[in-house]
């Protein structure tokens, strides 16, 4: 008779954890070693990762497909601008306060849209994002279609702004990636994974699928909004078309589908690919986007696990191990 213990951590997981922590520390320290341009790039990449990971949690685990996540990007970003610019709240504090807006908005949105069947839910989220864009365009308080500038930021030195941007980028990654990881490892993670694999069976096992979906919708709205607030704080300017840009949904879907849905590793891979593709091929505009669209299509049809799915068929070395495994104490894997 062998003895067993339950283990989740793997060697690859430990290495990844060390690297992730080192990366966060490096990002926090950027003002002392990186150029302005690099900081800006890292902030942008962090925002892509965050928005994509939130979509991944929603669609990959929650089974809720949205194509209107830009609603939460825009709402949080606008809330931050209003708090900081109109009401004079400290902008860094405003980033966090602004997260109340997507949280509060997510409840009625889900309440209305969950009455629609699967695919129609997704299009419904798009309508909501469009409606919010039009509301922003028509609202005098938001300066309508002309948009707003974050002039209050001029009271800080360039270095102070760099410190803030770097800390916010690190916090964003910590909350969205780290938070998802912890959530997936918690008892909710088991329910979420069960729900991803088979919602009907999960419901019969006592998982309150409806409630869990609402909670995940709210949580991902907040995470997405966080990315929006950070992104537009770095931009210093916001207009309704940029805040509620459908490209936020496009990039999230591309990143997750190409990287690999239902995994954190896939999101990081996908985001890095998207970031560099955008950087190198963005100048080709339309033809580049044709390729992105077709890649998304091909992944949805033929490679449901994306790059990470293909990779993990060959090598079993998760960076973020969430699965429990039995380990025989005399050494062999069970």
């Amino acid at each position: 008779m062998s003895k067993y213990r339950v283990a989740r951590m793997t060697l690859s997981g430990r290495v990844a954890l060390v690297l992730f922590t080192a990366a966060l520390v490096g990002i926090c320290a950027m003002p002392w070693w990186a150029s302005q341009g690099l900081i800006r790039d890292v902030v942008t990449l962090a925002c892509y990762i965050a928005v994509a990971q939130m979509w991944n949690m929603l669609a990959g685990y929650g089974g809720v497909v949205s194509v209107g996540q830009q609603a939460f990007v825009g709402v949080a970003a606008y809330a931050m601008f209003v708090l900081a610019q109109t009401f004079g709240v400290n902008p860094f504090l405003a980033v966090f306060l602004s997260l109340l807006a997507p949280a509060i908005l997510a409840v009625p949105i889900y309440g209305l849209l969950h009455r629609l069947e699967g695919a129609y839910f997704a299009i419904g989220t798009w309508v909501v994002a469009e409606a919010l864009r039009l509301v922003a365009t028509n609202m005098p308080m938001l300066n309508g279609g002309a948009g707003m500038s974050l002039r209050v930021m001029t009271q800080f030195s360039a270095h102070e702004r760099a410190v803030a941007s770097s800390l916010l980028a690190a916090a964003l990654l910590l909350v969205t990636l780290g938070g998802s990881y912890l959530l997936l490892r918690s008892r909710y993670g088991i329910a979420l994974t069960a729900m991803r694999d088979n919602p009907v069976a999960a419901a019969s096992q006592g998982v309150d699928v409806g409630r869990l979906r609402l909670l995940i919708f709210i949580a991902t709205a907040v995470g997405t909004g966080f990315a929006g607030a950070v992104y537009f704080m770095a931009q210093l300017r916001i207009t309704p078309p940029s805040a509620f840009d459908a490209n936020w949904a496009n990039l999230a879907i591309f990143i997750v589908m190409v990287g690999g849905i239902g995994s954190l590793e896939g999101v990081i891979i996908g985001a890095v690919i998207y970031f560099f593709a955008d950087r190198w091929f963005g100048e080709y505009g339309a033809s580049y986007l044709i390729v992105l669209g077709l890649l998304t299509l091909v992944c949805a049809l033929y490679f449901r696990g994306g790059i990470w799915g293909l990779w993990s068929k060959w090598v079993e070395a998760p960076w973020f191990p969430t699965r429990r495994r039995l380990i025989r104490l005399d050494g062999d894997k069970a």
């Binding site: 069947e117 699967g118 839910f121 299009i123 419904g124 591309f254 044709i290 077709l294 949805a300 049809l301």
Partner: protein, 286 residues
């Protein structure tokens, strides 16, 4: 008078939206999938039509007569090559696949036709109007409305009275059971999508004649079609028609309140319907 005029214009606008919405209602009813390229196909067909008019010198009615079969062929191809692979209980694959295709299609159109807005010349019919009492009604919008009504009636009769319609309804009720009595689901699906996109041939011609089209317009047409379908009630053909009227009226009245409010008014009515009557206004069953 102002408001009555608004309602009349809204109904006329609804005629165009009904032509967007019919195909979507049909496809969702049968396959439970949403084709995200729905609006892009309207734009694609319209741009093809405009090019045909310019290059081959076709008049608007000849363009219409060409676009409907082209649309049907495109729909058939789309179903055979792509959608048949993703029909199923999980909404994610069909949604993501057509979402990716939509981005590719929009940008391909951008490469071919550039971002310019274009329109189709109707040979004077665009300016013609008749007066109904004190209200002036454009002849073209009236033709669009009549066409939409005939299409809706025709589709409804096809669904109720023909062999094809019955096999379609059987497949939408229980596709496996339909296969057990000899219906080939792939054929039924391909025919449904062919009809849906064929109808978009009408929508494309009239859209290009009534206003303009540009490669990035597709998402708006998708959303209007979607709103009409939901307002009217899922899967019901006349419901989609009525939903399109309500959407058109909401937008026209919103536009009269404030020009920036028109489209938004449509979205708000859609959300209100979801809140108050999620099964749609004309759906009896919950």
């Amino acid at each position: 008078m102002h408001w009555i005029d608004g309602i009349v214009q809204g109904v006329l606008l609804g005629g165009l939206y009904a032509q967007y919405a019919l195909g979507m209602a049909l496809m969702f009813g049968v396959m439970k999938i949403v084709n995200v390229t729905h609006g892009d196909l309207v734009v694609l067909l319209a741009l093809i039509g405009i090019s045909l008019a310019n290059v081959a010198g076709l008049g608007p009615w000849a363009v219409l007569a060409t676009l409907v079969p082209i649309g049907a062929a495109l729909g058939w191809l789309l179903q055979r090559a792509l959608l048949n692979r993703v029909v199923g209980n999980d909404p994610l694959p069909s949604l993501i696949a057509t979402f990716g295709l939509s981005i590719a299609l929009q940008n391909a159109m951008l490469v071919i036709w550039s971002a310019d807005t274009r329109s189709l010349s109707g040979g004077g019919i665009q300016q013609a109007s008749i007066s109904l009492g004190p209200i002036f009604v454009g002849v073209l919008p009236l033709i669009v409305l009549i066409c939409a009504t005939l299409l809706t009636g025709g589709l409804d009769l096809t669904m109720r009275r023909t062999r094809f319609g019955r096999s379609l309804r059987a497949a939408s009720a229980d596709v496996e059971a339909a296969a057990m009595v000899g219906v080939n689901p792939r054929n039924v699906y391909a025919a449904a999508t062919a009809i849906a996109v064929g109808i978009l041939g009408f929508a494309a011609t009239f859209q290009a004649m009534r206003s303009t089209v540009a490669p990035a317009d597709g998402p708006f047409q998708l959303i209007f079609a979607f709103e009409a379908v939901i307002i009217g009630g899922l899967g019901s053909i006349w419901g989609a028609f009525a939903g399109a009227m309500i959407l058109g009226i909401s937008q026209a009245i919103g536009f009269r309140i404030s020009p920036g409010f028109g489209i938004l008014a449509g979205h708000l009515v859609f959300l209100a319907v979801l809140a108050i009557r999620p099964q749609g206004i004309f759906q009896r069953r919950a």
